[in-house]
Every structure is written in C-alpha cells, then in structure tokens.
Symmetry: C2
Amino acid sequence: MTVPVIVALDAMGGDRAPGSVVHGAAIAMRRLPRTQYLLFGDQARLEPLLRRYKKLRERCQIRHTEERVADDAKPSLALRAGRNSSMRLALDAVAEGKADCVVSAGNTGALMAMARFSLKMFPGIDRPALANVLPTQRGESVMLDLGANIECDAENLVQFALLGEVFARTVLGQRQPSVGLLNVGSEEMKGHDAVRGAATRLRAPGSPINFFGFVEGDDIAAGTVDVLVADGFTGNVALKTAEGTARLMSDFLRAAFRHSLTARIGYLFAAPALKKLSRRLDPRGYNGAVFLGLNGIVVKSHGGADAFGFANAIGVAVDMRNNGFLDLIRDGLQRLKDLAPAPATAG
Amino acid sequence: MTVPVIVALDAMGGDRAPGSVVHGAAIAMRRLPRTQYLLFGDQARLEPLLRRYKKLRERCQIRHTEERVADDAKPSLALRAGRNSSMRLALDAVAEGKADCVVSAGNTGALMAMARFSLKMFPGIDRPALANVLPTQRGESVMLDLGANIECDAENLVQFALLGEVFARTVLGQRQPSVGLLNVGSEEMKGHDAVRGAATRLRAPGSPINFFGFVEGDDIAAGTVDVLVADGFTGNVALKTAEGTARLMSDFLRAAFRHSLTARIGYLFAAPALKKLSRRLDPRGYNGAVFLGLNGIVVKSHGGADAFGFANAIGVAVDMRNNGFLDLIRDGLQRLKDLAPAPATAG
C-alpha cells in the first residue's frame, strides 16, 4: 500500500496528555513511516510540544478545540455536552472518512458512548467488546469482552469470537488463531445456556472460526488458546484477578529479596535476569485495549500510559487498518450467516 | 468442651487414599487431641496402615466397605449406585448423628450430590456453595462460590455472604469479617441485577453482615475484604485465573534464574528467602475446600492432597464444629429474616 494511513488522536485524553500523546505519536511515526496524524486539542498547548518533534510536525495537522472530556465525566453527560471535545471530534473525523482510525487515552465510558454514537456499530455486530492482549506461557493471547457488556447471550459471544479471531490475525499476525470460550469446565455440558449455545454454533461445520472448545481460568496464563471469549462480567473479573495476582507475587518476591543480607546479595547477582523478566511482563507492551465491533477502528490506550504505551496503542490501530480488520469482519460475518440455519441442528 | 469430636473420614477418596487419609488423621490427631475418627473403607487395606500409627488406632474405628466412588463417576450415577460406598457411608454417619463432621478427598460432584441427598440443605439456605481460603497481601480471605452454582440470584448471593462470614469467624478466627461482592466496579450502579439486589439487602440497617460493598478482581489478591462473594461461574473462573497467573509467574521466575551463570549464583544466595516465599504460597496450607450450606459439616480435600493437606482439611472441619458453625448460620439467617421487609425499602 502506498496510501498513507491517517490517525486521528485525542490529544487531550489521559493522565499525561497532551505530552504523552505528542511524544507517543513521534515514537510511532518512526516505526510506521507511512502514517500521518490529526491532533485534536488545544493548539496553544500542542504547538510548543511539537517544536521538539520536527518530523512529526511535518506529518501532522492540529484541529483546534479547547474542550475536553473530563476523566470522571459520566458517559451520558459527555455524549450530550461533549460535542466539541477533542475525543468526539477525533471520532467524527473517522466517521466522516477524514481519518482511518482513532486513538484516545481518555475516559473509557465516554469513549465507548461517543464511538457508538458517532461511528455506529459494524453492520451485523450487535454490541461493542473491549479486548486486550495478554502475556502468556506460550506468547500472547487476546481476551474479550473485558467489561463493555455485563450480560451476553450466545449470539453476542459468537460475534465476540469472530471479532477476537480477526484481531489476532490482523494485530498479532497469527495465521489460524484458536478460539476458546471461558467456562467452568471443558466438558460439553458445562456452563450456562449462553456459553453452550455459542459453542454449538462455533463448532458447526463450515464455521469460519478455529474453535478449540471450552477453556478454564488457568488456561488464560497458560496460553492454551489465542483468543479467549467471555461475557464482560467474567472477562473483567478474570483480567483484574490476573493483574492482582501478578502484583501480589511481585510484592512477595520483593519482600523475599529484602528478607536477609544473603537474599540481598542474591538479588544483586540475579538482577539483570529479573529485570529482563519484568520487561517481559511490562504492561506498556500490552497497552492498547481496543473497542471491537464498531464501524471504524477505535483504540483505547490506558489512561496512565506514557509515550511508549501510547505509541504501542497507535501501532495497534494502524495494524488493524493495514491488515484489513473491517473487511475480514465483514467476510467472517457472511460465513457465519451462511452456516447451517439453526444452532440446534448445527450442533 | 470436653465431649470428643467424631470425624467421619472417606478413607478411599483421593489420588493417594487410603495412605494419605490414615497418615493425615494421625497428623491431625496430634494437633487436635479431642478428636476421634470413623474410617470408612476397606478393612484389609486400612488395618496394615494403622499398625504404623498406634495412637490413632486407639482413637479410631473402621467401618468396613469394599465399595468406593470412582474419581470419574458421574454424580447422578454415584448417587444411585454408590449407596454402600465409603463416601456415602461417611456422610450418612453425620446424617444419623454418629459423627460430627465428614472429610473426603474424593470425586467433588459425587460428594456434592450425595451430601445434598444424605444431609439435606440447612433450613433457610437454598443452595450449597463451595468455599476456599486464599493467601492475600493482608493475610487470608475466603472466597465463595467456586463453582457449585453456575447461575445465582440476589438471595443466593446474600446467603453465600452469610455462609462465608460465619466460615471466616469459625475457621479463620476473624472477629468481624468484612464481606465484599465481586463486581466489575465499585460504584453502586455497577453490575447486573443479582449483585445490585444482594448489595441492597446486605447494606440494610440491622444486617448481620459487615458489608464492605463491591470489590473487583484485583481486590482478591490485595485482601481488601475477608470474604469474597460471587456466583459460581465468576468465582470458579477467578480462582483458576489466580492459580494460573501464580504458576505463570513462578515459571517465568524459574526461567529468569536459569538465564545466566550470575543469575544461578544469585539464586543460591536468595534460595532460603525464596523457599520461605514458596512455603507461604504452599497450596497444602490452603487445602480443604468446604461445602457450605448443608445441614452438616462437609469438607472436601483436594483430590491430590498429601497427608499434610488432608490433615489441614480435618482441622477445618473440626474448627467449624467446635466454633459452632451451624448455630451461627441459624442465628444469622434469623437476623436476615428480621430485616426491613423488602429490598426496595431497605436500600
């Protein structure tokens, strides 16, 4: 492709904005030479920052607005009152075809509400899902939904499976990603109606999904499958449980190394290897939760992300765009539709 | 109390039975001097084992049966065909008042089905819940339900809160254990009807529960509350996610120490402290998942538990019995009943 990718950035969203956004774009630009940027935000604050990044300055335009969505704003209020906010204008740029994708580190709920309003859902997808990439024993997996939908039926889960599968192909570069449904056991009769109904459809002959079957909580870290599908309640609890457990282990480990003089000496010797381990688990490398299912590419960076984290989120958005995420979703939906008519006969 | 506690043991349940059961009872007996044991199982296999433990021999009786529930038996089949199994006879001993509590390391589903049939539910409790103690940043917490009930309503969650609270008091020795409901956020409007309805009832003035409010996945390892309440689907996924993440971290750590010669040297110095850490997280210390809500005390030991793990499970059962678990549940249910009539007016 020789056409440049135009990335719309909510320059005012996130704890360290606009500095982290501008610096993040400068880092991303070096890795992604065919990208151009539309920066939505306060010109008076952006111009001085851009002076430090001459090459970025040549490849970006500022779209001035003084309004921004507050981090604690209620989604409904942001939707009504934030029509001229940096977040909303960045989304509108994608809706109007002036940009190819959008990245924001702002208020998650507001971004979701505004994105649904501005971009609408992708035709054939009922609800958006929040997805993220996680480090595992075998490499990386993507998990969704992480909290956008508290209650889900079988059809929602099937759509999430497709969204996650295409994400794994376009962003993680996996050829035939395997998909698992999070459940309380691996046997076919386990779980509630939604997971069993979804499994029946995903197992049907001709399904476009490489369906592994049911997986359990410990399969997340094991990396048993490339794509983990759950309702938003379960997915959110699982993600935060994993984060909390990792933090507990790190704290216990730190305490163990402080425990005695010999342990401290041990730490000195082991430090380079331990630092390599901590880089392997660096959450910045896994920044860029994505709203999937919208009629446009929207990446949500973590609110506290620094420039490197934000650059990674830009990379996710550009990969989705360059590798034809939306076209692959359209194709997958068609193939799901063409499947044997009813779940009952298909299973 | 001077009356001895009689513990019924399913001597044939578990991967290492009957050796781990007999050895486990011998260990438990030393810690719990007023206990006596009824061993249900194959006399020809139990007698030779007991010769090694003379003191235990004096305080136990064998109830011979050659039948046992297979580890892979379907609960419904075990219920129909296992009337003379070691598991079923041990449960019946409690139901008939011949023993005070029962411990089994056998087939979980069969134990649950048989226990419900033999002991019945505690009056006022609708469903049994599976609970376990977990290590946290602040000490120990108990989490339930861990998979016995895939779908739960508000009333089930309120009952689980009471069961968990009384367990924390009688087994962990906590005075006024705090109780949290696992949810996707801490604000009152978060989550689905079941968690919000349960929160309204638990928050009501006069509630016997020290209700903290909603907690999230990362609060499990943080130890934010003493008792974590969830439906069985979410609780099961969360528990296994935590176990899987802890395993991933340990494996990464081991790889880091093998990474270079200096890292290996570092390990030698740090080994004692690291071994102390691994003892702190030793799953054997947390063995003894409990079925709560039955009209009797039933402790499920892990199927793979060794004698030390099994002894710990016996300790849990005896603590519940000695500290009046069933009386406290009766009392708590009465106080919940006496609360302001409807959740809508109480909230």
